[in-house]
């Protein structure tokens, strides 16, 4: 994670090796492409999964997207972040597959659902800090994944791209083909809904560092 953050937060630094690899692959050394995308393979998969919601479809879409990235590597321009470029290609691939598989009717119902109404938080449980060790526990990750999966797709997709894939608001809007205003509205809702879904769990001790003392607060 630390290594990944360096890449994300300092697009101009710490990526010399990446820039070298990009140039080599662009010159025809396609066998180096996996080394180039390996740091991002998990994020590419997560982006596909957020849209397709099926592990095997997501894996296939991720692989196909990486092949497309390889085929179009000469179109990549250094001013963009390579990770963002890969994720955008993956999102395109996943959206294309979903459009192919879904009926028009389902799409229409989904797309007309109102997301402009204000969201009122329901749970005001005190949730000041969390031990990062909590994520080492599989059941905590499971609870978080379940909460995310329960969101409507329009909220889930925006949240995954912005808060998990670390695309910025503009990039998220471009990847999904929606407006910046929509991204902001959906992001607000997604975050508040997840907070509501998880705040109660915090009180119940999901995130406790002491798995055998559930119900006790760690502070």
């Amino acid at each position: 994670m630390a290594e990944l953050n360096v890449v994300l937060s300092n697009p101009e630094q710490g990526t010399t090796r990446e820039q070298e690899l990009i140039a080599q692959v662009q010159r025809g050394q396609a066998e180096l492409f996996y080394e180039l995308v390996r740091p991002y393979e998990r994020r590419v998969y997560a982006a596909a999964l957020a849209i397709l919601r099926n592990e095997s479809d997501a894996e296939d879409a991720a692989q196909e997207a990486m092949l497309k990235a390889l085929a179009n590597i000469r179109q990549f321009r250094a001013e963009a972040r390579f990770s963002t470029w890969l994720i955008q290609i993956t999102v395109n691939e996943a959206l294309m597959r979903r459009r192919r598989e879904r009926t028009r009717m389902t799409e229409a119902i989904d797309d007309h659902r109102d997301d402009e109404g204000e969201y009122t938080p329901r749970d005001f449980a005190d949730w000041r800090e969390i031990p990062s060790e909590a994520l080492e526990r599989k059941e905590v990750r499971q609870k978080l994944a379940e909460a995310l999966a329960s969101l409507d797709r329009k909220y889930r997709e925006v949240f995954v791209l912005r808060d998990m894939e670390q695309l910025n608001i503009q990039e998220t809007a471009e990847a999904l083909g929606i407006s910046v205003a929509s991204v902001k509205t959906r992001l607000l809702r997604a975050r508040l809904m997840l907070r509501d879904l998880l705040a109660g769990g915090w009180e119940q001790g999901w995130f406790s560092r002491l798995p055998f003392e559930k119900g006790t607060k760690p502070w």
Partner: protein
């Protein structure tokens, strides 16, 4: 500026993103210092972002990386073998040039490709192995001996199937049977010859 809880909830995501102006930020900071409910919403929102932003939250299926590597290696090999280098472009380009040249040369040895007449009809139930003739520069195929064959000194014999494949259409005279009568079953070439002889005899009688 003073903000209430509803305004805070509406802007809390932008606040966390650092996308509110200084006045609103100050008003929200004041609100958070006095409203425990909104402070808990703020803390919770930040926790959500922190938790889900952790790479440990992304779990991939076992063997995902290995399978991706294998598929990319296949893709890389096929690119290497075909399009990845300039030299690789030369092979298909040269092949295309040879094919195009070959086609032109072959074309020069045979009858020019016939044009379809706007009145042409495809015919029906023509026996595929029926022996027919075509002549240079014409569009039709004929029963051998048909007296409306143009350019008779340059005729070529082939089967009806080949003639149709090459774009020729049945002669409206000697092949009339296949154009005007919806025959239900293919007839033998002998019968066709006999029929076409009858047609020719009728024509000759009419011309007299």
């Amino acid at each position: 500026m003073v903000v209430n809880c509803q305004q805070v909830w509406k802007e809390i995501s932008n606040y966390v993103e650092g996308e509110v102006d200084a006045g609103l930020r100050a008003a929200m900071d004041t609100h958070f210092s006095t409203c425990t409910r909104c402070k808990s919403v703020l803390d919770g929102t930040r926790n959500v972002i922190q938790l889900y932003g952790d790479e440990r939250m992304i779990e991939v299926p076992t063997g995902f990386g290995r399978r991706l590597e294998r598929r990319l290696a296949q893709g890389a090999r096929s690119r290497k073998g075909t399009w990845s280098t300039w030299s690789a472009w030369l092979v298909p380009v040269a092949a295309l040039a040879l094919i195009a040249g070959g086609l032109r040369w072959a074309d020069s040895l045979t009858v020019p490709h016939p044009l379809q007449s706007e009145h042409a009809q495809p015919g029906s139930n023509i026996p595929p192995d029926m022996v027919v003739v075509v002549s240079a520069g014409a569009k039709d195929f004929h029963v051998p001996g048909c007296d409306v064959i143009h350019n008779k000194e340059k005729i070529r014999t082939l089967t009806a199937k080949e003639a149709i494949r090459e774009g020729y259409v049945p002669c409206v005279r000697c092949m009339r049977k296949y154009l005007q009568i919806a025959s239900t079953s293919p007839v033998s070439s002998e019968l066709v010859t006999e029929l076409s002889s009858n047609v020719e005899a009728e024509d000759r009688a009419r011309s007299r």
